[in-house]
Amino acid sequence: MIRVQREDFDVGAEMAALSEGNPRVGAVVSFVGVVREMVEGASGEPAITALTLEHYPGMTERQLAEIEAEARARWPLEACLVVHRYGRLEPGDRIVLVVTASAHRQAALEACSFLIDWLKTKAPFWKREETAAGAKWVAARDGDDSAAERWDKTDEK
C-alpha cells in the first residue's frame, strides 16, 4: 500500500493496522525519516529552518507502487506500507514512513531497508532547504545510489 500526502501520519496506528487480524505476522519493522536541523555533514553551515518537498503527482505514486511490488516479489511480506509526505516541513517533522510485516524478522528488516534505499533513488521527490542564508535545492547524494545498487546484485537475498 502506498500513499503520497501532505498530512502527517500516525506511526503506531499504521504499524498496528498492518499486523492486526493476521495471525501469520511475527515481525513488524518501520522506518521513519525525520527533517534534521543540520545540513548534511556541514557543522559550520546554518541550521535548516524548513524543507519543501516537491513531487511529480502520478509518477510518484506509480514509482512507489513499483518499488512496493519489487519488495513483495523479493521477500515473503504479509503487508507493506509506504507513506511519503510533500509540501512544507520543519525540523523534527516526519517525512516518510516505511512499514513491513512478515512471519520472519529477517524478511521484514531487509525489505524495509530495501524500500527506503530504492525510494531514495527512484521516487520523484525533490527537497528544497531553507536556512537563514537562503533556500537551495538539495543535491542528490552518491551514497544513495550505492545504497540502492547493493540491491541490484541478483544474489542479494
Binding site: 518537498l53 511529480y56 511519503h84 531514495k120 527512484k122 535545492w137 542528490a140
Partner: protein, 83 residues
C-alpha cells in the same frame, strides 16, 4: 507533447509545463533535449549539464535513446532527493 519541469529545472526554464509540437527528426529523448536547448537561455542553462538531468517518458524513467512522440508526457527533473 506535454513537457513537465520539476525542482530547479522548473525555476530555470521558468515554467512548470508546456505543450509543444515536435519538429521532424526529434524522435528520441536525446534529440528532444538538444532541440529544447535551442529554445532560449533558460532552457540552455537548465540543460547545460545533462549528467544532472533525469527524464521520464509517460511517468517512467527513460534513457537518451528512448523514443518520444507527440502525445507523450515527458518530464525533466534533477536526480531525486526524497526519503
Amino acid at each position: 507533447m506535454t513537457l513537465l519541469y520539476f525542482a530547479w529545472l522548473r525555476t530555470r526554464i521558468g515554467q512548470q509545463s508546456e505543450t509543444v509540437t515536435l519538429p521532424d527528426g526529434v524522435t528520441t529523448v536525446g534529440a528532444l533535449l538538444e532541440w529544447l536547448k535551442q529554445r532560449g537561455p533558460g532552457y540552455a542553462a537548465a540543460l547545460e549539464d545533462l549528467s544532472v538531468v533525469r527524464v521520464a517518458v509517460n511517468q517512467d524513467f527513460a534513457a537518451l535513446d528512448h523514443p518520444v512522440a507527440d502525445g507523450d508526457e515527458v518530464a525533466l527533473f534533477p536526480p531525486v532527493t526524497g526519503g
